[in-house]
Symmetry: C2
Subunit: 500 residues, 2 copies
């Protein structure tokens, strides 16, 4: 049984059982038992985090930055071993995705967080010298980070943006590994531990548990020691965690489900061929087997010749391309449910619809179609995210239906409009989508989330829990794990350096 | 029956009953029936707010600013009539408090909001030109504002900081009057209507209902049309509203209960006399009959000669000063409950403890005492806010008990430390209080919330619902009623002006 990382030590868990990862390419269980911690482990991690809060607050910005940079360097230096583990545990291709895209993204985020920590740009000091009143952002306290299945490196609970943001603001982190990739998470955690020593930060600044019973997870969220929570994953789990956090009035930052609608204005086809659009759309839908949070699960076209051509072309692409290996059996199960629900609700199945016969965990590339009338008659059902290679095309009868569909969108991470600003319908759609999504995109697919200070990877519920925050983009994403502090009539010696 | 303000019109309510205000100075019911709206009124207001969202988004920053400035000017010009109504409905002194303090505070906030709206400083644009990615804050959508009883002008749902902040960001507001001061709210609403016409903003930008059944209030919070909620009031009502908002993943900004602890370090008395401290502390406790959100309901001293002197002196002051008229019978009832609970829990009653015999709605100035051991044995009970002239003194046995008490504080708006930075205990206390409160204060009482950009009038739950936001202080307070918007690959014509 593998050790957990608690209080700065790798030590045996008080476990109630164990998990094993599965190689989704073969469906085979991998070697290595990872413990399901019981409450004693959770309580020990909480206590250790609470104990080092003062020491971590007293650490210098340079030390935090040194930790983040050293950790990034350690990850780079050990990229091959970590990516090899991640490939086995996720089925994601090692060179093209894990080594060349995800690991560089993870280490870049850590380094950008280091820059923000060092410059303290996240503190946003405001000084009213006339009345000796000053405010700034300060650390919020211990943060529980729960990572997703779909980015084993760049969104890992112990290396992703939630982690980097929380650490940059001087908060201890308790990372809960995703049960799909425990070894990957362990290998990363080892590099974090080494970097903490280099930076001389408290050893319990970073802790890691592999797994725990759901009720223990909720109890951790509610515990007094935890000040905030970062979660990326399913809507079911996210809503349960949110209810626990809300009960205590505690910030929780969620990234859950998102259908990422794409609207193709009829005027678009005066400039662009349907073939180009078919390639672009189906490529985005099937990228990484549709397992991006920003995968276009919904697209809207006018029910005319071009609209039908695009739907037919996407269907052909979906059928032609070999289904990609999924991340896990849980993803497969979710796709089966979503497909069954859409069929039950009357959506027309154009391609796929069931598990694939190929080796490993796969689902057929699946395309459904409804009319605008059908969509608008049950906007809830037809916005159910099928996480994976499943999309729904809507053929609307007029632009008014485009607008009505845009207005009906539940909170989503993104909304795309294909068409020119010269078409007045573009402005109408952008305006409606702005209210419903975090990032409005023109003439571009939503997959692809640039690591940029201008990024918003967020949006209204149920995409996230609050439309004012982003999980990607330094330094804005750091703000989630801060509280607003104010110092009134105070001697400089008692204020943080940024207010002196 | 008075008309409600819905859809830009004063019109009769669909009422299920009516309320009357009470003059707390005499306990007499005032003339004027104000309707309790049924759901039809609520639904009509929601629909009107949703309909004008696009028009309000299209309004220029100059128009929003013109509205806010004109409204402020109208309030100034009609200050006498409004303050006379507020005096009758709240019992607060007209010249010293309402005319000279509250109305200027209200109009100043509106003018500061106008400045922020005009400059668009609240938008915080971030542009990544290399990849044509840009983000900024945008309006969140219709906001429901529910105001408190204790500031009929400066925190009124139709004129306070929640209102000004929501409007500055271009959001329609539905204001729910506090049932204690319906006429005051009506008179202010009339000035808002006139100002909307001057600024040529949509007439439904500002709507006002006097009252509704609690279940209809919760239904409004949950309705799709409402994007965010601002509430100032009791913890019971706030927690119920929060549960409704949380269920839909909707931001709600609450200002609820706060005990505002004040710690007097033993070393303080080397510089300051106990007499000075007694005057300062009792003055703050009894200011406006203790009905400030930042009233010190809890103070902590060492159990030594000076500590006992201060407690004895505060007791003498509490007994000597005539109890001030309270805002309402509800405040009186809350004080009776709090006093009974504290006695039941074993706190020693030193002064007051029951309703006063003087004319009008009054409660005796009430002081309780516990030891540090007693406090730490039941930190929940001894932090129950008695909203009004009720405070609890704690005599601790050593500095470690000071620290333990500071760590046990539930989220509070403020925490004060009396003592010098030269005393190492000051740093220890400031560090602990920073984690538990929104504003840490040195050598000053918490009552007094400067309207300053550096102010934080906020704090962890249950003082508010999220420790990252302030309800006072432009432009920061505006951020509560915004969402983060991002424009990806977009032609300038489709972006807001601040990103072009």
């Amino acid at each position: 049984m593998n050790d957990i990382l608690v209080g700065g030590q790798w030590r045996p868990a008080n476990s109630t059982g164990s998990i094993n990862a599965v190689d989704p390419r073969s469906g085979q269980t991998l070697d290595g038992d990872f413990p399901i911690s019981n409450w004693d482990d959770c309580a020990a991690a909480l206590e250790a985090a609470a104990q080092i809060v003062p020491a971590l607050e007293a650490a210098s910005p340079a030390q935090i930055a040194l930790f983040l940079r050293t950790y990034a360097g350690n990850l780079d230096a050990n990229s091959e071993a970590i990516c090899a583990a991640a490939e086995k545990e996720s089925g994601l291709p090692m060179p093209t995705r894990l080594q060349k895209v995800e690991m560089p993204r993870a280490t870049r985020q850590l380094r950008l967080a280091a820059d923000a920590a060092e410059s303290e740009v996240w503190r946003n000091p405001i000084v009213d010298a006339d009345i000796n009143l000053a405010s700034c952002r300060g650390p919020i306290g211990p943060v529980l980070v729960i990572g997703p299945n779909n980015f084993p490196l760049a969104f890992n609970a112990i290396a992703g943006s939630d982690f980097a943001s929380a650490i940059a603001a001087g908060n201890p982190v308790i990372a809960k590994a995703h049960p799909s990739h425990p070894l990957t998470t362990k290998l990363m955690a080892e590099q974090a531990v080494a970097a903490l020593a280099t930076a001389k930060l408290p050893a319990a600044t970073v802790q890691m548990l592999y797994h725990m019973a759901p009720e223990d997870g909720l109890r951790m969220v509610k515990s007094r020691e935890i000040a905030a929570v970062g979660f990326t994953g399913s809507r079911t789990a996210g809503v349960a965690l949110k209810a626990a956090a809300d009960e205590c009035g505690k910030p929780i930052y969620l990234e859950m489900s998102s259908v990422n609608p794409v609207f193709f204005l009829p005027s678009l086809f005066e400039q662009r061929s349907t073939d180009e659009i078919i390639t672009e759309l189906s490529g985005s839908c099937l990228l990484a087997a549709g397992q991006f949070c920003t995968c276009p699960n919904l697209f809207v076209l006018l029910d005319n010749e071009q609209g039908q051509q695009v739907v037919d072309g996407v269907k052909a692409q979906f059928e032609e391309q070999t289904p990609t290996v999924l991340l896990s059996g849980a993803v497969l199960g979710g796709l089966e449910s979503a497909a069954a629900m859409l069929q039950e609700k009357g959506a027309e199945l154009l391609a796929g619809g069931k598990p694939s016969d190929e080796e490993g965990i796969r689902f057929q590339n699946t395309l459904f179609k409804v009319t605008g009338d059908e969509f608008l008659a049950d906007t809830d059902a037809f916005q159910t995210e099928g996480f994976g290679p499943l999309s729904l095309g809507v053929l609307a009868k007029d632009l008014d239906q485009f607008y009505a569909i845009a207005e009906s969108i539940e909170g989503s991470l993104t909304g795309s409009v294909y068409g020119s600003a010269a078409d007045p319908a573009a402005k109408e759609l952008v305006s409606r989508l702005r209210r419903r999504v975090g990032r409005v995109i023109q003439n571009k697919m939503p997959t692809g989330v640039a690591v940029s200070p201008a990024m918003n990877h967020g949006g209204p519920f149920p995409a996230t829990g609050h439309p004012g925050f982003t999980s990607v983009g330094m330094p804005t994403s750091i703000g989630r794990f801060t509280k607003l502090d104010c110092y009134d009539n105070m001697e400089d010696a008692l204020k943080p350096d940024c207010l002196k």
